[in-house]
């Protein structure tokens, strides 16, 4: 069980690092708008490569009645 002499101080250190990371995230405004970040992945940057490809296929998901 001698390993806990390393593991417990390590976990304390990791916790301090986690706290530091969290504080950094809050200060760099990552928690300011939680609603938008969740859906950001759904939007394509207009003019980006993937957006153009998608445009050409004309979104087969919608209007697919014809």
């Amino acid at each position: 069980m001698e390993v806990i002499w390393v593991l417990i101080p390590l976990s304390v250190l990791l916790m301090l690092l986690a706290v530091r990371a969290f504080v950094w995230a809050v200060r760099s405004r990552q928690f300011d708008d939680l609603d938008r970040e969740a859906s950001r992945i759904l939007f394509e940057e207009p003019g980006s490569e993937s957006a153009r490809v998608d445009k050409e296929s004309e979104h087969p998901r919608r209007g697919g009645h014809d």
Partner: protein
């Protein structure tokens, strides 16, 4: 592209209204747009242009991903004419120029409700020349932007371009002052999030180590291993206490400095004692003696209290938003006419008495004034909740904040905007708030005694034991402090209030100030606003004259009234139409009605005497008793009469009003109506509801004065801007969801679904909450009283003290959670409440 959708889908689209804004498509308007291979109807040219613009910009993903249509037609929301801000002096009031040659400005947005709206605006404005950055703050409905500008003139040009572009995208924007409150709230939110994160991460780590410690109690553990685990807990909890629990220590220090006692004091004492005592145990070699530490309890306690406080703060911030300031009710810029006829655009704050201003149709009147030119109607709904328009003509005085009708008015300003009747409301509200007796929480009243008792008993114990057995002074004193630590006591009130807030939220009531639940104990009266709270405008009915087809009349009337911003016209437009009718040369005749031509025949809708030329006496005499109705005519011969339903009364009791009155009386409250409306209408409503006490013709100040005079606590229920000062003074202030932001910000609770029975739910919830708080406090104090003699005499083992303390806190928590456990039994009518 051919469309092969089923009729059902088409019918759905039809009912959904305009594709862009979602508002009903007026009869006779058949523009369509093609998005995603399907035709969709639009309601106006503005919306059609917006759809086209968004498609051209390649942003049509917006329509696929948005949560809902915008809800306002471009130009009809908080809109301001962008050209009003082309003036450098006006624009400068909203912009900030930095030395690097950039202008920064904030715009309040209307119609922005989801991430897709924010996205389409941010990307839609991207290609504007010189634009540096544009970011939509969805929570507050604001856009912050910066663009290149060397001087005030170029900055103003950038601002108008930005506003025009947002309008082109089908949204409305108006420049807004940078809001200090928003920045402050954002800082507070970040601070509280940081504290929660630190305590959360810390508490979990400490708990993990504590479980190892507890396991060691049963299975045995080497002393040096235990020491390591305890030291790790001490360090981690130290981080939580020093960093995370700061708000409590600061709060306690502030209340003590102010010479008061608050809940922060026992909370700080509990956290401080728990950590301090445990640290002393560790440092004085208590681990070797097998003594117990309480780091886990301290960390968890801090975390849960911070979480509760954060939830409470978020609700408060949402309602104290910058938009809730009164300025938001005035136009951002007004047109001032110089004596030589020159038009300049100025800010409302710059208006002086004697200035002449022009108010466009549908515009908001910026200052109290007197009409010089033009006749028409104004709508004071935002001010008083009164939905009936008021006739105005040369010489009539009009109050700031009312909305102009369909005609253009010229006003002479009688009082500067900063001095108007409207501007007086925030001052009255501030006075009301200051005069309202502060709530003294039951817990606050006893916390002083508790804190003093804990410290006194510990001191006495230490002194007495130093005579009995100096070696046991420290262990016994620490055990005493631990047992008497007011953890459960500090938890009792906050957790119960948090649980009650969550419970009420599920019932559709947003509790902005939880302490109102405690004030609800001393209520004796219920003062109710009438218009918009107890009553609502009636529906329109169509009575055709001999030979006319009813549906045909409705179709024509709706088409005539298509663009008229009059409440009666709005009610009329809600009637179902069967065919689209198109008129030519449609014009509004001020004070009379609307006129249009179709197939060479003249159609009119409006005042009976204007619409119909009277050929027979029967119809003429009919007009005598027909003041509230409007007539439809073709070439002067009357076709139909439109009037409010319910026997000529133009307002009806809202659903649930009678039940609300019964519920209030059942709870021993004495109801009364306080209204700004005329006596006759108030008397009618009071009679229908069986209310004996009523006041009519009240202005905001006298509503407030009535509250100040009342003997005993008053429950106030209202929704108009004129109710705001009274709400601020009431014992328990409830606003309906239909109230404007400013009024809602003055209330303790908002009934979100406008269901009147929500008020009864609130009162019952308050009663139950108070009962549970009393039980919790009683339990916490009795536990401390029972355990204290054992600890003082040194009979209690440290581990037993720890278990007792945790169990006591858990019991308090569990008792509070009973508030949440109740099943939803509220039925649709809301007569059976979930609290019974």
């Amino acid at each position: 592209m051919t469309t092969a959708t089923s009729p059902a889908v088409d019918a759905l689209a039809e009912r959904d209204g305009c594709f862009h804004c979602g508002l009903p498509v007026p009869a006779g308007f058949d523009l369509e747009v093609t998005v995603g291979g399907r035709q969709h109807p639009v309601c106006c040219h503005g919306c059609q242009a917006a759809v086209a613009f968004i498609q051209d910009a390649g942003l049509d993903d917006f329509y696929r991903l948005r949560a809902a249509p915008t809800g306002t037609r471009p130009g009809e929301g908080v809109a301001a004419d962008p050209s009003a801000f082309a003036d450098a002096d006006v624009a400068a009031r909203f912009l900030h120029l930095d030395p690097a040659g950039r202008a920064h400005g904030d715009l309040a947005l209307d119609g922005v409700g989801c991430a897709a709206c924010a996205w389409v605006i941010e990307h839609g404005v991207k290609d504007l020349p010189g634009l540096q950055q544009a970011r939509v703050d969805l929570a507050n409905g604001r856009l912050s932007a910066s663009w290149d500008a060397n001087d005030a003139t170029t900055a103003a040009v950038g601002l108008t371009r930005l506003m025009e572009r947002i309008n082109a995208l089908g949204f409305d924007a108006v420049p807004a002052q940078p809001a200090e409150e928003l920045v402050l709230h954002e800082q507070q939110r970040r601070r509280s999030l940081t504290a929660i994160g630190i305590s959360g991460i810390g508490a979990m780590q400490v708990m993990m180590l504590a479980i190892a410690d507890y396991a060691g109690l049963f299975s045995g553990m080497a002393d040096d291993h235990r020491a390591l685990i305890v030291w790790a807990q001490m360090v981690l909890t130290g981080v939580v206490v020093v960093w995370g629990a700061q708000p409590f220590f600061k709060g306690a220090w502030q209340t003590l400095q102010a010479g008061r006692m608050g809940i922060d004091v026992p909370v700080s004492l509990a956290i401080g004692l728990g950590w301090g005592v445990s640290t002393v145990v560790v440092l004085s070699g208590g681990i070797e003696r097998g003594e117990h530490v309480y780091f886990d309890s301290v960390a968890m306690f801090t975390f849960f209290l911070l979480l509760g406080r954060h939830l409470e703060q978020s609700v408060r911030h949402r309602f104290a938003r910058a938009d809730a300031r009164l300025d938001a009710l005035l136009p951002a810029a007004v047109t001032r006419l110089a004596p030589d006829g020159d038009r300049t655009s100025v800010l409302p704050a710059q208006l002086q008495a004697g200035d002449v201003i022009e108010v466009p149709p549908g515009g908001i009147i910026a200052a109290d004034g007197k009409v010089l030119e033009g006749t028409g109607e104004i709508d004071r709904a935002a001010l008083t909740g009164e939905s009936r328009p008021q006739d105005v003509g040369p010489g009539t005085t009009v109050p700031a904040g009312s909305r102009n009708g369909a005609t253009r008015l010229q006003l002479e300003v009688t009082r500067p905007a900063t001095n108007s009747a409207l501007a007086a409301i925030p001052n009255l509200l501030a006075r009301a708030r200051a005069e309202r007796p502060p709530v003294v929480h039951l817990a606050d009243r006893v916390s002083g005694i508790i804190v003093a008792a804990v410290l006194f008993i510990a001191a006495v114990t230490a002194v007495v034991w130093s005579f009995i057995d100096p070696a046991r002074v420290l262990p016994v004193t620490l055990a005493t402090l631990m047992v008497t630590c007011p953890c459960a006591f500090a938890l009792a009130t906050p957790v119960t209030l948090t649980a009650a807030t969550m419970r009420l939220r599920r019932l559709g009531i947003l509790l902005v100030d939880p302490s109102a639940l405690e004030r609800a104990a001393r209520l004796r009266h219920a003062y109710l606003d009438k218009t918009g709270t107890l009553t609502e405008p009636g529906q329109i009915t169509c009575d055709p004259f001999d030979g006319a087809d009813r549906q045909d009349c409705v179709d024509h009337a709706v088409a005539l009234e298509r663009d008229v911003p009059h409440p009666l016209a709005a009610a009329l437009r809600r009637l179902p139409v069967s065919a689209n009718v198109t008129f030519e040369a449609l014009r509004v005749v001020p004070g009379s009605g609307v006129e249009g031509f179709k197939d060479g025949r003249r159609w009119r809708i409006g005042r009976p005497r204007w619409a119909a030329s009277f050929e027979n006496d029967a119809t003429e005499s009919a007009t005598e008793s027909d003041e509230g109705s409007i007539w439809l005519s073709v070439d002067g011969s009357p076709l139909a009469r439109f009037r409010s339903a319910h026997g000529g009364a133009d307002e009806t009791l809202r659903t649930g009003a009678t039940e609300l009155l019964r519920a209030l009386r059942d709870r021993g409250l004495d109801p009364a109506i306080v209204s700004g409306d005329v006596a006759d209408r108030v008397r009618a409503a009071a009679g229908q509801l069986g209310i004996e006490r009523w006041w009519a013709d009240l202005d905001p100040g006298s509503k407030y004065a009535l509250l100040a005079e009342a003997d005993g606590g008053v429950l106030y229920l209202g929704d108009g801007l004129n109710d705001a000062p009274a709400l601020g003074r009431a014992g328990v202030a409830v606003a309906m969801a239909s109230a404007c932001d400013f009024t809602r910000s003055a209330a303790d609770a908002v009934v979100l679904d406008d269901r009147l029975a929500g008020v009864a739910d609130l009162l019952d919830g308050a009663e139950r909450t108070r009962r549970i708080i009393r039980q919790n406090l009683l339990w916490a104090i009795s536990y401390n009283l029972l355990a204290m003699p054992l600890a003082v005499t040194g009979l209690i083992a440290p581990w037993a003290a720890a278990i007792g303390m945790s169990a006591s806190s858990l019991l308090v928590l569990g008792n509070a959670l009973r508030l949440l456990r109740r099943q939803e039994t509220a039925n649709a009518a809301g007569t059976v409440t979930a609290w019974k």
